[in-house]
Amino acid sequence: MFALSAQNFRKKQTAPHVHVGRSESLNLVIRGAFGRRPFSNRLREWKVIVPTDFSVIRNPEGFIDTVTEIACMAEAEKAQTLYIDHSGVKSIDLAAEVVLDRVVEDLISDFGRRHKPLLTRGKLPDDKNIQTYLRAIGLIDALKIKSHLLSDEELAGLKVFSRQSKAAARLNRIDVTDFKEAVLLRLVDYLEKCLAAHNRALNAKAKAELIEYAGEILGNAEDHSGMDDWTVVGYLDTTNEVHWCDLAIFNYGTTIAQSFEALPPDSFARKSIEPYVEGHASRGVIRMGRSRSDLITVAALQGNISSKNRTEADTRGRGSVDLIEFFQRMVDSFEINGGAHPEMAILSGSTHIYFDGTYRMKADAQTGRSIIAFNAENDLMIPPDSLHVRDLGRRRFNGCIIGIRFPITDAQLVEVNNG
């Protein structure tokens, strides 16, 4: 049976169903499909076709549609088989695939919790490189497709780094490395092992920058999401002359905009962003297809802006600056020759922000604040460019995903002798 994605849903104005006992993460993904319910509860096979460009960075709509479709199988009474068809995929990013992987795991757990049978099947992409990528990431493992598992020799050649936060791992003592730091150390260790195979290693500066960047994102995920549920995944492709590194960090829970919207209107943090948001709202930016959440998310990226700033004396709001400046260094260090180039995206709620080096964070000449306005003038009084700051409408991811793809160039490496 070939069931197109559109046949699994019909548009209906119904509130999303929250199943008591189901994991919060699965519920949050299901809520991202608000307004769309399964067409028929009689389907036994739940077939999901992954789009040609399966990417958080470049195709957030296709990504959200795919993962919410998978999650909604939990609502289908008769469905017993999950079939994920990757055969048409031509391009993919780590962030999209690891979230899909996580949703599948949550679904399998949910069926297990309800003692319902669930068979998992899938079709791999025709593209061999993407096939290898999927095998390395783990979807094949998650679906338990034994016939496609890699041989020991093949597994040894593929390396993916993945760590998930665990509430139980929180340490009360601060004289030992906490879980977040332990994860970052292992991330660096993973990259070093990948590079060691080519007699290379990250130089001291590159190692420090990577830890600082990833540490800021994990810190934000811990501080703002409201849930201790973040995942960091990394993949270093050393098969080509340019070593491309994919990093994906995602957490479920409060979106960037929600962390501000939950504050009282007279709070310091809300008053910090309100002139920007209201200014554009009053000029009709929201009527032109932008949402308040988009504007709040852009505001949240500016230097010294944080939902946790309570007074003028507070010094939060540095994390997003470090994140963006790290990306800018990657763009600067890589000559774009018409091929692949560094990219990054932030997807939170219905807001998608795309970074490709077009707009840069710069210190404002008068205030010293780091500003990225997503327009040519880098002026916050001018609305952000709608191609780089997009409202996804009814589609949403309840949490925050940051995906980045950047090259590790010779400038960041040193030669090592592994002989």
Binding site: T177, K207, I211, E212, P275, V277
Partner: protein
């Protein structure tokens, strides 16, 4: 002569120091609030095996001191960081510069329209 006090980052794990909560906890445990008032100089000893400190950790630990100092010179006359030249080059110079410049920005609202 004003007292010089030395604090060791090694007491707080390592070899990387990331995250504001850890910086704030270090500040509290070290009693930096009162040290800053009583000492003429505070020396922060960076362990020789440390290879990353992010600005959020520093802001948690010394952010209030930077704000209170009001300018770069006043802050660095109070705080000194003992580290190797290689560590300064690899991460410390940038992290300190980022933390200091960030903390010295006046925390005013973003530009736009104000509510009446």
């Amino acid at each position: 002569m004003a007292e010089v006090s030395s604090v060791k980052l090694r007491d707080f794990g390592g070899p990387i120091y990331v995250g504001r909560p850890k910086g704030e906890a270090a500040r509290k445990l070290l009693g930096l609030d009162s040290l800053e008032k009583s000492c003429g100089r505070i020396s922060v000893v960076v362990p020789s095996d440390a290879y990353a400190i992010n600005s959020s950790f520093l802001l948690g630990m010394i952010g209030p001191a930077i704000k209170r100092a009001g300018n770069r010179d006043a802050f660095f006359s109070l705080y000194a960081f003992e580290a190797s030249p290689e560590q300064y080059d690899a991460f410390l110079t940038a992290a300190l510069e980022d933390a200091v410049s960030h903390a010295l920005v006046e925390n005013k609202p973003l530009p736009g329209k104000r509510r009446r």
